[in-house]
């Protein structure tokens, strides 16, 4: 029997974290900004069909950055979990906190036990009946969960994005204002200009009825 080489756990975790961060850093970031009727999610995404932002449940939206197949798998898992809960109990019993917790558990387990960690960061945005019930959760590759207010960012360069949003953000702004802040924050970390139509944006808006999620048209995003 061969004895495996001893690797100190600190080193192991550090290596894994570095590997995951490197993968995430290669992709493009996504920002979330609260506005008067809900939450806007926006990111640069030249593909019109491979979405990074999508609907999880009535009032909950999902955004993922990093490796597509990995966050897509997590997205589907989130939808399954939400639909199962809503079907077994009531639609109002599905919360972003519950789904985010499940993501945190899953990513935490994968980070420590699988051969390679997932190279993803996730965001869940939930619009409530008023501003107090509105939530943004962020889950990182190692399963750490953050509860955020007003605005948030995921992806490699979130510090720069947050700094930009901190300067522009105001409470209860109209959607157009939120769009322009989000776009200028994203543009500030990109070299060169973003081609019009290369944005992917969606909202969870409390004025949309039961299913609050809506994708924004390219013209809507470009005109703001």
């Amino acid at each position: 029997m061969t004895t495996p080489f001893y690797v100190p756990p600190e080193q192991l975790m550090k290596d894994r974290a570095e590997y995951a961060r490197k993968g995430i850093g290669r992709g493009k970031s996504i920002v979330a900004v609260e506005y008067e009727h809900g939450i806007l999610l926006l990111g640069e995404n030249p593909s019109g069909t491979l979405h990074k932002i999508s609907e999880i449940y009535d009032r909950i939206a999902f955004a993922g950055v990093g490796k597509y197949n990995e966050f897509e798998q997590l997205r589907i898992g989130g939808i399954r979990r939400a639909d199962l809960t809503g079907y077994a109990y009531s639609r109002s019993d599905v919360t972003a906190k519950g789904v985010a917790n499940a993501y945190a558990q899953t990513l935490g387990l994968i980070f420590t036990q699988e051969v390679k960690p997932y190279e993803v960061e996730l965001m869940l945005a939930e619009v409530g009946n008023d501003v107090e019930d509105t939530r943004i959760f962020k889950v990182t590759y190692d399963g750490t969960m953050y509860a955020e207010r007003r605005f948030s960012a995921i992806g490699g360069q979130e510090e720069a994005l947050i700094a930009s949003l901190e300067e522009s953000y105001e409470d209860s702004a109209p959607l157009e204002a939120a769009l322009s802040w989000a776009k200028s924050a994203c543009a500030s970390i990109i070299e060169g200009d973003v081609v019009a139509g290369d944005w992917e944006a969606a909202v969870v808006d409390r004025t949309n009825g039961r299913r609050a999620f809506r994708r924004l048209e390219a013209t809507e995003v470009d005109s703001a």
Binding site: I56, I79, R80, D83, L84, Y87
Partner: protein, 264 residues
């Protein structure tokens, strides 16, 4: 991590991975559609007459509000017409408890598919799926617990309203003009046959739908006519290229009064 819900590779799942029913089955929590054998006679509330007809721009679906248990009125305000998704409706007749659960599962199924795949099922796909759900319920039907839905919707690809009726073994039949099911369905169909035209306007279609239910209530005790005293009116929904929308009680009430005066 097991990517497929049944533990198989996502490329070759044993069931369509986007199916909510398959997900329930894989977790062992699917609704049991099999009533077991023998045992005592039960007489659960039954939902009765529902109809659907085509008009120039879409489909109108309507149902009375009564549920009966034998010769007893079990409920006066039952809803039998539900949105399946934003472009289609399902209406139910037969054992109310099972039918409502079937509808809830069907609604979840359609939304589940839409969210995962990023597109809605085709109208025909939805009808076929509903047919298979009715078929799975066959063992219950053999015990006398029958559920027969109607399905109607706006086909956004073909730009037209379409309607489907079903039978107890899950047979699915596309109807061209109108259809009705439930205990008063025959009377409603007879009425519809005399008044149906190809180019009905939305308002005419609504009036005819309500009048057909009034006609059914005249002949069939299990069908509840409009209850003017309590303000209980049929559920009526319209589906056109803008999607599903319920008609307000005031408008249905007006149609109901006109229809009842005509029969008096």
């Amino acid at each position: 991590m097991t990517p497929g819900i049944d533990g198989s590779l996502p490329l070759e799942p044993t069931t369509p991975a986007e199916s909510f029913s398959a997900l329930l089955r894989s977790r062992g929590v699917e609704p049991r559609w099999d009533g077991g054998t023998g045992g005592i006679e039960i007489d659960p509330p039954e939902a009765t007459t529902v109809i659907a007809l085509r008009y120039a721009d879409g489909i109108v679906v309507a149902g009375d509000r009564r549920a009966t248990s034998g010769n007893i009125i079990a409920h006066r305000r039952v809803e039998k017409v539900f949105p399946a998704d934003s472009f289609s409706a399902v209406a139910i007749s037969g054992v109310a408890g099972i039918a409502v659960e079937l509808t809830r599962l069907f609604q979840t199924e359609l939304e589940h598919y839409e969210k995962i795949e990023g597109r809605r099922l085709s109208l025909e796909g939805k009808a076929n799926h509903l047919a298979s759900m009715v078929r799975r319920q066959l063992p219950m039907a053999m015990q006398g617990l029958v559920v027969i839905p109607l399905f109607a919707g706006y086909d956004v690809e073909a730009d037209e309203g379409r309607l489907y009726s079903f039978d107890v073994v899950g047979g699915r039949y596309e109807e061209t003009d109108y259809t009705a099911t439930g205990s008063g369905g025959r009377d409603a169909r007879l009425y519809l046959r005399t008044v149906f035209r190809d180019d009905l306007s939305e308002a005419e279609a609504l009036d005819i739908a309500v009048a057909a239910l009034v006609a059914a209530a005249e002949e069939d005790t299990a069908t509840g006519g409009p209850d003017l005293k309590r303000g209980i009116y049929p559920n009526v929904v319209m589906i056109d290229h803008d999607g599903y929308r319920e008609v307000e009680d005031d408008r249905v009430g007006t149609a109901a009064r006109v229809a009842m005066e005509a029969t008096a």
